[in-house]
Amino acid sequence: MLRAIDEATHMSITLRAYNVLFGDALLVSWDEDDGTHHAWVDFGNFHNDPNAVFEKVYNDVLTRTAGKLDLLVITHRHLDHMEGFFSLRKHFKADFTIERVWYAHVTPSLDHVFEIAERTLRSMLPASIPDGDSDIGRVFRNNFGASGDKIRQQMADILKDIGVPASRIFKIHRGLNLKPALPPGLKNLGIEVFGPEKNSNRYLQPLEHALQTRGIAISAVNGRVKATRRDPFDGARSVKFGKSSLAGLADLARLRRQLQSGGLDVLGAVDTTRNNTSIVMRLTHGSARLLLVGDAEAMSWEIMRKNGAPLKADAIKVGHHGSINASPAWSFTTVMPTKLAGNAAVISTDDDRFTGENEVPKGSVLNGWRARLKSPSRLLRTDSKKLGESVAVTLEG
């Protein structure tokens, strides 16, 4: 049965989602024999979204948890899931005791591919885009970090500064023996991990294809990823456009400008690949099941389905802020085969941020989850609350 948090009684699990603009910040709280325990899952928002909200959320979590966290999870390496942790990382050591930190396992070679993709993108997108305040610029930085502040380094800085010894930090993937990675004293909560895969290259196909169609082939050489530019024009005699006799022709300028645009395919593929490396986990507390999917997109869902992952749950944190690419049509009934009064769906989103074909949250996704709920009010959106405030659902086990 679903009830408001203030009505929660013994043996319940609560999912709280904060309005951090466009991003995720989740607090999961459950009852153990010695009291309430907590896991903080993701904390971030889109690059250039105001960071002032982080402090309010941080203080709220601190108050609710009294500074004791069983688990801190960074589902994947995107700023809208980790920038809050990064910007406040040096406070954690003093304020929190954290038993375990989990972050998504990524095959090292994938980082090399991302580096290749970033270099490719910088040559393909207009120079003003990566650092500019446009949607595409922000998606770029969400994936790669800002200039001089690389996302890979930010992740390393979080792990270094957050005040948890390396022995208690775990790279999580499906199939990993979770026993040492679980917080001590966990009796009433079960945690299953369905993703990501240990071999991240399984998620690489869209990015490989996007690069390949641009003439860039990825191969592994001595354990290191190598990009080779092998295009159909190898060996052909050519002259740099600027030095050619055609350079001064004004009527060719429009054609050249049009040809020089592009790159969105590669950026989209990077975004998808990172999303698919999200930690997907199901928390079981008594009979209550809560599914947290990060931003896992369709490919990750398909792999989980093929693996026979038991995705059934009473409540879900809807993937990727309600995007069309993270709630496959079959997922609604697979997760919630029966329309029960206790079913709930929570979406961390910011309405009107993306519209048109990239509308987020997508109407069909909202409808899909709504159709699995007894009451439309069980679909909770963070953007229904003021900045820094939260929505919450409680499931009784």
Binding site: L125, P126, S128, I129, G132, S134, D135, I136, G137, Q212, T213, R214, G215, A217, R230, D231, P232, F233, A236, R237, S238, V239, K240, F241, G242, S244, L246, D251, L252, R254, L255, R256, Q258, L259, Q260, S261, G262, G263, L264, D265, T355, G356, E357, G363, S364
Partner: protein, 534 residues
């Protein structure tokens, strides 16, 4: 005038150029063809200019350069200059073929005299026509097979002719680039494929290869054979006109799939004619040549009989029959009857022949049969109650979009037919349901019609396209149904420029100034059909 040299337009100096007549792997030996000259280095001709710019490397490949006598050297197949000449010659011949059948020169659908041809634009599995940049863009990619060979779309005869077909239809009916009717985009694709098969059939080498195999997979029926490593039964084509069945276009608005409804039907008509002619005693090869001439003539002449906007496949089929009827009223050979039967069987036309009102109109201008645009307007104005202007026949403003003076091979030099195209805009506010997807926007539907007269002023055909309640409802349905999967929505920011350039969906919905405009995204063409094939 003494001292001035004038060009004799009837005898342009022909230039011989070797080309690949289908796909380099299936027809590797170049065949020499003629195009109108003279040509400058590029090659650059009167109507087209090859500009071999490569965006990925920001380089220009040196152009094919003619000798002093105007001829070009024999470049090797792998030489970029061979590709330049190949692309130019295929595109130029396809255009010349259409102009010959239409009986009039084409004027491109954009402001400019030359169509830019870019044979090696970059690395992509694509090729497309872009009216915005006045160009045909051909990309190249590395194949996926074991050999990882380069595939240059500029060397694929079907692809070059198909993209030229887009430019040709855009020249004839520029409004088809901005449809509120999904079948109009399908027509664009079908004309591209028909252009590809007619251009292929102009080569004797192809005729000989396919004359005995029209009813199974063959060089002609397979569009861009070799584009994929393994496609339908190993042919690797993008589309198959002989294999297509109604299941391929059922319940879809995707233009490539939907186009098969028309292109495969025209192909079927070609086969039926071929069989009929053989039964009448012609050899396989002669029967093919005759069938090709008949079908090509009908299919191309239909273009001048089309309505100004939002054309459906059925309207094209009607125009095809009407175009033939206009020159062969009695169908003595029975060819039109055969084609009519095939079109009717596929549900594209009704079984009975349409007849038009042949009564005289009023106030023909003295300049008839060579009316200027202004004369044509005054003539239509005097007859406005007979036009598709209702319900505001008196008040409705309209423009004469085009006056096409057509000659026929049987009457060279004489104007045999006059096609007048008129149109007007109707603004429609989106209702709540459509506004959910696009916001509070206006759309503009185009009404109007096409009138084809003979030189004496007898109306031969009328394609009416009023803006009816049904059309408005259908346009709104299209917007709602397409918004989820078929449209790339763009505004006016730099981000939108990038989105537009990367768009691979069939239509681009442009939002600016409270107005929603749809554009066919021809960059979505030359891609593989996503529908499963068996």
């Amino acid at each position: 005038m003494p001292g001035l040299r004038t060009r004799d337009a009837s005898e342009p100096s022909a230039i011989t150029i070797p080309i690949i007549v289908q796909d380099p792997r299936r027809t590797p030996t170049p065949v020499k063809v003629s195009v109108r000259g003279p040509l400058l280095a590029g090659p650059i001709g009167e109507r087209m200019a090859v500009f071999d710019y490569n965006v990925d490397r920001d380089v220009v490949f040196p152009p094919a350069t003619p000798r002093k006598d105007g001829s070009f050297p024999d470049y090797a197949l792998h030489d970029m200059r061979f590709h330049q000449l190949n692309t130019y010659a295929i595109a130029a011949r396809a255009t010349e073929l259409v102009e010959l059948e239409l009986g009039r020169p084409l004027r491109w659908g954009f402001e400019g005299s030359r169509l830019l041809v870019v044979p090696h634009a970059g690395v992509l599995e694509n090729a497309f026509y872009s009216a915005e940049s006045h160009s045909l863009q051909f990309y190249s990619f590395m194949g996926n097979g074991r050999s990882r060979r380069a595939y240059h779309t500029a060397l694929a005869h079907d692809i070059v002719a198909h993209e030229t077909g887009h430019a040709i239809l855009d020249a004839v009916r520029p409004r088809y680039y901005e449809p509120f009717e999904p079948e109009t985009s399908a027509l664009h694709e079908a004309i591209g494929d028909l252009c590809a098969i007619f251009a292929a059939l102009s080569h004797e080498a192809v005729q000989r290869r396919v004359a005995g195999s029209l009813d199974r997979l063959n060089l002609l029926s397979e569009i861009a054979e070799g584009f994929e490593q393994a496609g339908v039964r190993g042919w690797g084509s993008i589309r198959s006109l002989v294999d297509a069945t109604p299941a391929d276009w059922k319940d879809t608005i995707e233009p490539h799939d939907l186009s098969l409804k028309l292109s495969s039907t025209i192909y079927l008509a070609l086969r039926k004619l071929h069989q009929t002619l053989m039964r009448r005693g012609e050899t396989k090869l002669d029967a093919l040549r005759t069938a090709r001439t008949v079908i090509q003539r009908m299919a191309v002449r239909a273009l001048d009989f089309l309505p100004p906007a939002d054309c459906t496949l059925a309207e094209y089929a009607e125009a095809l029959l009407a175009a033939d009827r206009s020159v062969h009223p009695t169908d003595d050979s029975g060819f039109r009857g055969i084609v009519h039967e095939v079109l009717a069987r596929r549900g594209l036309v009704s079984k009975r022949e349409e007849r038009v009102d042949e009564s005289r109109w009023i106030e023909y201008p003295p300049s008839w049969p060579r009316p200027s645009v202004r004369d044509a307007y005054l003539f239509l104005h005097a007859n406005r109650h007979r036009l598709a202007l209702a319900p505001h026949a008196d008040q409705r403003d309209f423009v004469v979009r085009d006056v096409q003076l057509k000659r026929l091979p049987t009457s060279p030099g004489e104007v045999a037919q006059i096609a007048i195209v008129y149109e007007y805009p109707v603004d429609v506010k989106l209702a709540l349901q459509e506004a959910e997807a696009f916001g509070d926007q206006w759309i503009t539907l185009r009404g109007g019609g096409t009138l084809v007269f003979d030189a004496l002023g007898v109306l031969l055909y009328e394609a009416r396209k009023p803006v009816t309640r049904e059309r408005v409802d259908a346009a709104k349905r299209f917007l709602v149904e397409g918004s989820e999967e078929s449209f790339t929505v763009v505004g006016v920011s730099l981000d939108d420029d990038i989105r537009r350039a990367a768009a691979r969906r069939p239509w681009i919905a442009e939002l600016a100034g409270g107005r929603l405009a749809l554009r066919s995204n021809l960059a979505a063409c030359c891609g593989r059909s996503t529908r499963p094939r068996t």
